[in-house]
Amino acid sequence: MTGRHARTALATVVLALGAVGCKPASQETAPPPPPAADASGKTEVVLCDNHTKVTVDTKANPTRDDGEQIAQQLMAQWKQKNPGVDWEADERRAHDLVPAADNAGLVGNPQGQTYGAITDRDVLLWKSQVETFALAGSRVFHSADELGSTIAVSCDMCHPDGANTHPETYPKFQVQLGRTVLLRDMINWCIEHPVRGPRLADDDPKMRALEAYIYAQRKGVPLDYGRR
C-alpha cells in the first residue's frame, strides 16, 4: 500500500529534520565541523533523500530557530514532492472514524508492560497506531481507485460510514453462497460484484485495513456470529 511507504519515508524525514534542528546527543562532546561555506556566504542543506535542499545564509552560530526554519522549508518542499503524505489528516477531515478505546485507565499500572508502568505515551501510541490502521481502511473504503473498481464504485456508495456492513454477524452461513463465510469473504464478494474490481488476498494490506475500518465503525455492538 502506498500509505505504508509514505509513512516510512516520513519517519526518516522527521529524524533527519530533528538532526537539523538540534544537536544529536552523540555529538555533544565534539561539536560538528562548521558547514562548508562557499564564497558567496551561502550554505546548502540537503535532506536525507539526497534531493531536497535549501540554500541559507551561512551563520557562525546558528540558533535553534534557524534550524527549525530550515527544517520547515525542507519539509514543505518534501511534502510538495510527495502529495498524500498528510493522508491521515485528510482522511480524518473527510470521514468520521469511531475513536479507538483510549486505555487511559491503565496509566500507571505496573503490571502491564515489560519496562515499568504504563505511561501516557504508551496509551497514546496504542490509540494512534490502531486508528491509523483503521484510517488506512477508511481510505480504501472510500476510494474506487484504491479498490481497483472498473466502474468507479466504492464501498461508501452503499455503506456510508460503514453502515449496514454488520461485521458482528460473521462468521455466518451466507445463504446466497451456500457456505460459511468471514467478513473478508463478503468484502471480496462486494469488490468482485458491485464494485467490479479484482479480489484481494486474505492477507492483502488493503483487506486487513478494510476489516479494521469496518470493525472500528461497529464499536460497541455485541458480537452475534451467525446472525442472519
Binding site: R93, D156, C158, D161, A163, Q176
Partner: protein
Amino acid sequence: MKSIETKYMEERERTLRGLAGLSRRDFLKVSTAAVGATALHGVFNPHSFQPVDVASAATVDPAGKVEPFRFAYISDSHLYSKDLNDRFVNGLMRAVDDVNALDPQPDFVFYGGDLAQLGQPQELELGAQILKNLKAPVRMMVGEHDWYLDLGEKWRSLFGDDRYTFEHKGVQFVTLNSVIEEDFWTERNLSPMERMKTVAGLDNHGQRPFTVGAEQRAWLAQQLEKVPSDKPLIVFSHSPLYKIYKNWNFWTDDAEEVQAILKRFANVVVIHGHTHQVLTNRIGNIHFHGLLSTAWPWPYAPQGLPPLTVQMGRPDPFNPNDGCGDGMVQVHADGLVDKVYALWNRNPVTVSRRYTLSGGKEDRPAAPLLASF
C-alpha cells in the same frame, strides 16, 4: 422437484394472466386465490408474489378541487459515462421502460435529482438522452451530484430553471433547488472536481449542510403569495425538507423556515429524493415521501428516522437491483397522495394517503421480513 425460483415464476405467471382485464371486485377474488395457491405449496411466504391493490381507486371528495390524477417518478440514477459504468445506465433505462409500460400513461414523470454522479457534461447529456425515451412529459429537479461541478451551468442548459412552479389539475406544484451549500471550496482552494467529489461523498464531512437559502425562501414565499390556503400544494425537493441525520445530509438546514412558509396551506405534500429508500414523515399539515433510486439503496440513518416510516426490507447485496426502483404518485381529490414505491424484484409498497392522514393508525404498510441491522 421444482426449485423455489421456478415455483415463484410459475406462480407469478399464473397471477399475471389472471389479472388481465379484471374489475376491482374480481381483483380481490384473484388476490385471495393467489394467497390460497401459495398456501398450497406448503410454505406460506407473505412476501411471495401476490397482487397488490396499487392505488387503484382514487377517493372522491365532493368538496375536492382536484381532478384525481397520477404521475410517475424516477430518481437518483447517478450516471457515470456509458463506457465507464453500464450498471447505473441500465438502472435508468429499466426505470424508463417501467414508466413507459404504465397503462394508462401517467400525466407526467417527475425526475427527483442526481441524474449524474459527478455533474459532468457527458453524464448529464447521457441522462437527458435516456429520459427522452419517456412517452409522458418530464419534470426535472436538480440534485447535488448534478450541481457541484459547474454550479448548475450544464444542468440548466439542458433542463432549464432549477426552481419553478406549475399548476396541474387543481394542484399547485413547486420545484425547489434544496441542495445549496455554503461556500466551503474557495477557502480550501478546491478545484471544481475536488468540490464535486467532496459533495458526492454522502459521509464526507468536508462539505456544509444543504439549504434552500434565504434568497430562494423569499422566492418561494413570493410564488405562493397569491395561492389560496385551501389549494393543494405539492413541493418537489431533492433534500428531505426536514432534519433526519446531518452527517449524511439527510437534512435541510433551514427546514423549519421552509416549513413555516408552507404552514398556512391545508394540505401539503413534499416529495424528496436523496435518501434512496422508503421514507415517510408528517409534520402537521405537511406529508413527506422519499423516492427510490435506480442506482443503489442507502441504509437507514442511525438517528432521526421518523416514527411514521415503515422501513423497506434490507436490500440483498447479491441482487444488484434490490432496494432500487421507481414508482408512482396517485393524487387524490384533496391533494394528498398515495405514494407507490415500485421496488424492483419485490412487491410494491404503497404508503397511502389514509396512512399519513391517520398518523399511522390506518392502512399501515407491511413490515419488512428482514429489517436493517
